[in-house]
Symmetry: C2
Amino acid sequence: MEKLRRLKTAESEKISHLDYFNIAISVDCVIFGYDKNELKVLLIKSDLEEFAGAYSLLGDLIRTDEDLDTASYRVLKERTGLDDVYLEQVHAFGALDRHPSGRVITIAYYSLVDISNHKLQLDTNELHWHPVHTIRKLAFDHKLILDTCMNRLQTQIMERPVIFNLLPEKFSLRELQKLYEEILGTELDRRNFRKKIAVKDWLQDLDEMESNLSHRPGKLYALKKEFRHKSVNA
Amino acid sequence: MEKLRRLKTAESEKISHLDYFNIAISVDCVIFGYDKNELKVLLIKSDLEEFAGAYSLLGDLIRTDEDLDTASYRVLKERTGLDDVYLEQVHAFGALDRHPSGRVITIAYYSLVDISNHKLQLDTNELHWHPVHTIRKLAFDHKLILDTCMNRLQTQIMERPVIFNLLPEKFSLRELQKLYEEILGTELDRRNFRKKIAVKDWLQDLDEMESNLSHRPGKLYALKKEFRHKSVNA
DNA sequence: TCAAAAGTGTTGACTTTACACCCATGA
DNA sequence: TCATGGGTGTAAAGTCAACACTTTTGA
């Protein structure tokens, strides 16, 4: 009762799979920024007739010679000129009808950029920052993707030092707290917040103070060097 | 300085994208089972010459007419005959060299099945349950995928009632605790464990007892109906 | 009567929350 | 001198971890 089984070679398998090579695959990036106490996301006017007037996330088809993370870095770099951003893969979306051009499966990433420190050329290409809380609908399934990434961001900021990618290198605890409150949608007690952050031991005291304020200046901090990672995998 | 911009139609975009339709996309399922106090994963002998002798996860290319979750359900059903399993998407893997046949991006799922309750026809197709802790290497990047899914499982069981998909409908608290310990790789205090589970309020007391044991029988419980979901999205 | 596991509460350590006053700065 | 936010500690509540004895069953 022994069974003989022919081993396929990779090459023969490739041929038998050719049928399946007509699904396209893309990355879409939820690019978060923080400016004037508001969490924002970078959107572009959709260039598809089907979604005329609607905004969409920034994305592109994946090229055959780049892996997933590389593809999303490329999208970010091409669209914003930035390459020191935080990137994290969140989820794959593959509903049959999610793209009117045909079958496109997309891998969603969120990324965090420090708006203030970078001057994007936004005016040139219909690219704009939109306050996250004002966004009601987007092209494709991008609202769902945005919400999924927003949830992920909310859980991540409690667990790992990612939020600092949204801030300038030097920041005060007040600025940090405001950002937490904006992302979580809650108010936090100042004393308890400071204790919680102190325990995590993420921050370096810079021995510098804020300036140009109409009130008592606070100390400035920076994220400790050992936590400055640009992305997390798996 | 107004700019005129031609809107593409979905159809025209499709044509310009044809170049990109030569990346294949698959799903791979980490199918966990629990038997004889061991967490196991269902593996198949790789049918690629390049990985002769190695085992791999169960996966398949995605068909053009099925979405991601459907594809992984299909893989499960085809390979195991089961369709009442828990499935959850975990991560997309897309390294350039992860598949010797060419560019294949895979979406990894983990799934949980109750081994005892289902008789798979395992002998027919080189499909076997392997104790998770004994697995050192797998074909492709499947060891990485397994580890990623294992981590996800560990965090999920603390937060949501997913673990019950590995158990028969009726189980004792001792069986449940053993399973937690096996997945987490730790020992748990019995009294504290029972308190923790009680607080979560996931269980229905069946007013039945174990039987055929050579020691004092324990009460039997079942997961409350409202928690019996077969998968979670996003 | 032995072996095995069921069932059950309390204490101390730790963590989290709520809360108020004085201080430094620029307008 | 006013408005704004900086900086700080404590007490009470809640959560978590450690720990032991009696009971039930079948062999």
